[in-house]
């Protein structure tokens, strides 16, 4: 499979990690890619750790299994860092993107010597500032698009605007806030390793 990109999402039930993985699949689909977006269903309930996955490729994707050696990992909730092995199988050529305000030393320690890229973003601050509420998945989506260089930032923003227009047809007042969250996240995601 040519240029296969594999991404694993870690979040807690209710934070929208599954929705973010589906939105990422949507955005990549709109650039002409072959995509998969799927959650790993377990005993789902608010606050329980959940995993979701994306495959993105230039050619049809035939594999139907979970992802064990991802190119990228997105951590939507940093309280998972000490309880879930988020870097398991993560390629050192890839990167991990974490929603956190913890310092670099702590992150390096808790990631058990992972030598690939480590990116940090304060999705809580962005979300609360842009939306007035804590929905970390929108900023995390923008962060992974930037870090994994999945598509041109302008194309991404245009595409997301049309997705939001459709998704929030009955709540148009939240569209600008979500767009602002995406733009802030593209600017604020920072490499710390």
């Amino acid at each position: 499979m040519e240029n296969l990109l594999e991404i694993r999402w870690h979040g807690r039930g209710g934070q929208g990690a599954k929705t973010a993985s589906l939105l990422l699949a949507d955005a990549a689909f709109n650039t002409g890619k072959y995509i998969q977006g799927f959650p790993e269903y377990g005993p789902e309930r608010m606050g329980a750790p959940i995993t979701a996955y994306n495959r993105i490729s230039n050619s049809p994707i035939v594999i139907h299994s979970n992802i064990y050696e991802p190119d990228y990992v997105v951590v939507v909730d940093d309280t998972l860092l000490e309880s879930v092995d988020v870097t398991a199988g993560l390629k050192e050529s890839g990167a991990i993107v974490i929603n956190t305000i913890k310092d670099a030393d702590y992150l390096k320690k808790v990631l058990k010597g992972y030598n690939g890229g480590i990116y940090r973003i304060d999705a809580r601050k962005i979300s609360e500032e842009a939306l007035g509420k804590y929905f970390p998945n929108t900023p995390m989506l923008a962060a992974i698009v930037k870090v994994a260089n999945i598509m041109d930032e302008k194309d991404f923003l245009n595409d997301m605007r049309s997705s939001f227009n459709h998704k929030f047809a009955k709540k148009p007042e939240v569209i600008e806030g979500n767009m602002k969250a995406l733009e802030m996240a593209l600017n604020e995601v920072t490499k710390i390793n």
């Binding site: 799927f38 959650p39 269903y41 594999i63 139907h64 979970n66």
Partner: protein
């Protein structure tokens, strides 16, 4: 031009149903098939279909309502999974025995107990002798395509049997993937109008449906049912031909993936076939002659064709996502070995692997190991233990 989309297997199935626009849909929700009637009921509310949607109180009633509707002369559909299908069980036989071409979308899930909502094929395998045509689907595209072809097969006057389209619960039902949809008007033309020969609401020909059928005739009626299943083979291929002319997508009884010149091969169904294709490609790039036979049509079982397609191999592994719990082989293995014995003069070493029970994830690594085992078997020509497992914790503990 087809329509490029990205949909989950459940969404794709619901859209196929919208395009088919059946007269009646009767369904009761059960994970992981719930989304199908859920999306479909939205189409009903939005006036996108003319269907009478019957929100029944159980799956037994869902199948009963479909039986009543079809007997009356309507086209009826439903969707279910696992225990929902189990609860339909007695009505499944009444549907096929009454020769009512109902179409069911089965999103495969483990039958309880203990309770498990994830994928395996125990639900489908529990009804493999119920007289239903059974088509299996590797991904959302095939789940959609099989549903579009379903009525033209089931309603053919030489067939008149109910049909179920299977896909893997969650693995394909809840995974968003690329898909090519067919335009609504093309589907409408392809599926056509249902014109049953005999039906209850035909006042010009009063008939009885479902009367007592004792020693004098039941045997003949069961024979006719079996003949209809045999007839279905030709009809399935004819419909696939017409479908290919419309879409360019080719279907048959099974898909042979790099099987022509293969020395070793896996036989499996549904989503595992895709994962196996990735492994076959990898092995081929290393010069190993690996192939795959993916069963699409499980009932009627294409015995002669399967035996012929496998007859040149040095070793075969049959993967069953279900266990017959019979101290012997699982269903697909039993069918394949029976086909090889009855319809082929060659003896090929064959092994059975039970895998993926209750949603245990199936990886390329595990499939690779099966091919490694096959290479070893091909070398020695010997099978020490034909009844195997993979993905099982050591010692089953």
């Amino acid at each position: 031009m087809s329509i490029r989309e990205r949909l989950s297997g459940n969404e794709a199935s619901a859209i196929a149903m919208r395009q088919i626009n059946p007269d009646v849909v009767a369904a009761f929700p059960i994970t992981p098939s719930t989304e199908i009637p859920q999306y479909f009921s939205t189409f009903v509310s939005n006036g996108q279909v003319d269907t009478e949607f019957v929100a029944v109180e159980s799956e037994h009633s869902a199948m009963s309502a479909c039986i009543g509707a079809e007997a009356a002369g309507a086209r009826a559909m439903t969707a279910t999974s696992a225990n929902g299908l189990s609860f339909m069980w007695e009505m499944l036989y009444i549907a096929s025995g009454s020769r009512l071409p109902i179409v069911l979308s089965l999103v495969n899930r483990a039958v309880s107990g203990p309770l498990n909502i994830h994928n395996d094929h125990s639900d489908a395998m529990g009804v493999r002798d119920a007289g239903w045509i059974m088509l299996f689907s590797e991904n959302n595209q095939e789940a959609y395509d099989n549903l579009i072809m379903a009525h033209q097969i089931a309603e053919n006057k030489d067939v008149m049997l109910p049909l179920m389209v299977c896909q893997d619960g969650f693995i394909t039902s809840h995974s968003i993937e690329n898909i090519e949809l067919i335009e609504d008007d093309k589907v409408k033309d392809f599926v056509g109008k249902y014109q049953p020969e005999h039906y209850l609401l035909n006042h010009a020909e009063p008939v009885a449906m479902g009367p007592m059928d004792l020693q004098a005739y039941l045997f003949e009626h069961k024979y006719q049912q079996a003949e209809a299943m045999r007839n279905a083979k030709k009809v399935i291929l004819d419909v696939a031909d017409r479908f290919e002319k419309m879409t360019g997508r080719k279907y048959s009884f099974f898909e042979e993936y790099k099987l022509d010149d293969a020395e070793i091969a896996i036989v499996c169904m549904n989503s595992t076939a895709g994962t196996s294709k990735a492994v076959v490609d990898e092995l081929r790039s290393n010069g190993i002659k690996a192939g795959l036979l993916k069963i699409r049509v499980y009932r009627p079982f294409p015995v002669e064709e399967v035996a012929k397609a496998l007859s040149h191999l040095k070793a075969v592994a049959v993967l069953d996502k279900d266990d017959s719990v019979n101290a012997a082989g699982a269903p697909l293995f039993t069918d394949i070995t029976s086909a090889m014995y009855a319809c082929s003069n060659v003896h090929i070493p064959i092994v059975n692997y039970i895998y993926g029970i209750g949603g245990r994830d199936t990886t390329t690594k595990e499939i690779s190991r099966v091919y490694e085992d096959l290479q070893e078997i091909a070398k020695t020509g010997k099978v020490e233990n034909p009844f195997r497992y993979f993905g099982l914790r050591k010692g089953g503990k």
